[in-house]
């Protein structure tokens, strides 16, 4: 199939439809508006349902209801809207309902701004809502991955009966790049015997997150934790470029990783041995894979558009075995490759 020039948000929406997404519930917020707009036009023409909810809260609860029927369903929003959805996300995780939630991250806190940010990392990978639960979190780094990781997200959601979040950002959502869509033939049709579709000739199915007996709820908690451990064992994804000989490894995801890649190439041209480690799954975090690169002869530089959120997971992975440095921009500002290169040189003692 030929490549098409598309916006990241539209590529994501098209990939969702091709992955068998049959329902979308959303609410307007910048910079994700292309997703609901695309869905509202295309989904009804291709056998699906689009509905603009009265609020982010309602949208995620509509997702809960539809996911409970076993239907492939998605919602998208941006940072303040995702905060509003947290109640529902906690229930969806507790009810083990497969769905895809897209966060086209903007800068915060509060209403913040409409420009790109990465300040929702903690919220995405550490839980976000109340109680002990995890989302599977995938971080695309280009428009092609906006499509490919969305396809993967639906499969992982079904496989693990878990909500999957695509953690994108305002740049990846708005930028245009050529994209090629995976063959539709691959849409998996997983049996969902737990779904509430009407109890025809069987005992009723119940989607429930309440359990007021502590002994019973604790057992349930441990079952969920065991699932998250299995996910850690099977679903880690990452990319490494030039790490083998690197004196310094840049660690970044999403838009920051694009900047880091450019900085790495500038550094290599100047003879500096710089590599890039890009986590693609943020939960599970490629902790072991990153940790394996640590050692006394090597340093790490984390590049983020947050105050240093993934930085904490990098520290946990490196466990003090290498020095870790940090460079960031905030408030919707994006670090330039030159800024990152200057920091690289400073770290390696080559400035000026």
């Amino acid at each position: 199939m030929a490549k098409t020039l598309m916006k990241g948000n539209e590529a994501l929406a098209e990939a969702a439809i091709r992955a068998g997404c049959k329902a979308f519930f959303g609410y307007p917020i910048t910079p994700q508006n292309e997703i609901p707009a695309y869905m509202s036009y295309h989904l009804p023409l291709r056998g699906g349902v689009y509905l603009q909810a009265e609020s982010e809260v309602s949208a995620i609860n509509m997702v809960y209801g539809a996911a409970g029927t076993g239907t492939r369903v998605m919602t998208s929003s941006s940072s303040p809207g995702i905060s509003l959805k947290q109640e529902g996300i906690s229930y969806i995780a507790a009810g083990e309902l497969p769905c895809v939630i897209v966060n086209v991250v903007r800068c915060g806190p509060g209403l913040g701004g409409i420009h790109p940010g990465q300040g929702d990392y903690f919220q995405a990978v550490k839980g976000g809502g109340h109680g002990d639960y995890r989302l599977i979190v995938l971080a695309p780094g280009n428009v092609q991955e906006m499509a490919d990781l969305t396809t993967l997200a639906f499969d992982l959601a079904d496989k693990w009966r878990n909500p999957v979040m695509i953690l994108s950002d305002g740049i990846l959502g708005q930028m245009m790049e050529p994209v090629e869509f995976a063959d539709q033939q691959g849409v998996s049709k997983m049996e969902k015997p737990w779904a509430t579709t009407g109890a025809v000739g069987r005992e009723p199915n119940i989607i429930n997150t309440l359990d007021i007996v502590p002994e019973s709820l604790e057992k349930r908690n441990y079952e969920l934790l065991a699932k998250y451990e299995k996910i850690k064992g099977e679903e880690i994804r990452w990319q490494e470029v030039g790490t083998e000989d690197a004196d310094l490894i840049l660690v970044a995801y999403g838009t920051s990783a694009r900047v880091a890649r450019s900085a790495m190439e500038l550094a290599r041209k100047e003879g500096l041995r710089v590599g890039l480690f890009r986590p693609i799954s943020l939960f599970p975090f490629p902790e072991v894979q990153l940790g394996a690169l640590a050692g006394p002869q090597r340093e790490f530089l984390v590049v983020e558009m947050s105050a240093g959120q993934m930085l904490e997971d990098v520290r946990l992975a490196i466990e003090g075995r290498s020095p870790i440095h940090f460079i960031n921009r905030l408030g919707g500002m994006v670090p330039t490759p030159e800024e990152v290169l200057a920091k690289v040189k400073a770290v390696l003692g080559r400035e000026g």
Partner: protein, 250 residues
């Protein structure tokens, strides 16, 4: 032996947890009888809410989803939109529906969402031990209005049927009571009608059932039935507030 009385098929064998003098059990039965009489048990997906009826998923013998507080109409919307041929109902109390879930119920009604809502109004938060509800009457004492609900501090109780009747979306809105046999029979008819409206794809239908909370009202069961009749019905008049199938002159 001739069977003269039995449990509806749409109820499970679970023992209900409701307090003496509470009419939730009766209203559950009315819902189950409506489901049985229409023969839709295997086609029905119910949505339980948060409040005293939170365990409804254990009592109704059909597929059930348990929703977050106030969100049942949104959850029901999600189900109904992807399974439009199935029957979907919510069962919600007054705190759930008229306070924290006000946005969800108003918009589900405004969309004419083709679901059935059973709204049980007992003028108090029962499950959390008797706090003031949006439907608590003026002067009514609760755990959080210990000197009686005052208009100057908390305004007026919300009349949901009247409020939703201002919208074009609903097909059927009725308020009934559960305090005596005659009214329970009327309530059963209204609930059945609300399911029939959905079956005929007429759109949003809600039955508000006035109910009791003898424990949190601090009354005996009999006193609470009388209190409902004497205090709630004057403020919340019974009747049909909207019925798009009613003929002129009905």
């Amino acid at each position: 032996m001739k069977t003269v009385f039995q449990k509806p098929e749409a109820l499970t064998n679970a023992t209900m947890h409701y307090c003496p003098g509470c009419t939730h059990g009766v209203i559950h039965r009315l819902v189950a009888e409506a489901i049985d009489s229409l023969g839709i048990r295997e086609q029905t997906i119910g949505v339980a809410s948060v409040g005293c009826s939170v365990f409804a998923y254990d009592y109704f013998n059909c597929d059930m989803q348990q929703a977050a507080h106030g969100r049942a109409p949104a959850v029901a919307t999600g189900i109904k939109r992807v399974l439009p041929e199935k029957m979907v109902f919510t069962y919600q109390g007054d705190g759930d529906l008229a306070s924290i879930g006000m946005a969800e119920i108003v918009h589900a009604a405004a969309r004419g969402e083709n679901i059935t809502v059973v709204f049980v109004n007992n003028a108090i938060y029962g499950m959390t031990s008797g706090q003031m509800a949006p439907t608590t009457l003026i002067g009514q004492k609760t755990a959080t209005s210990p000197r009686g609900r005052s208009v100057s501090e908390t305004g007026y109780p919300i009349k949901m049927c009247e409020l939703l009747a201002t919208l074009e979306g609903p097909s059927y809105l009725a308020r009934v009571s559960s305090h005596d046999t005659r009214h329970i029979i009327q309530a059963g008819r209204a609930i059945k009608k609300a399911f029939e409206m959905q079956q005929q794809k007429k759109g949003f239908a809600m039955v508000e059932v006035l109910s009791t909370c003898s424990v949190n009202w601090g009354m005996t069961p009999i006193e609470s039935m009388n209190w409902l009749a004497e205090n709630m019905i004057p403020y919340y008049p019974l009747g049909v507030y909207k019925d798009i199938t009613a003929q002129e002159g009905d």
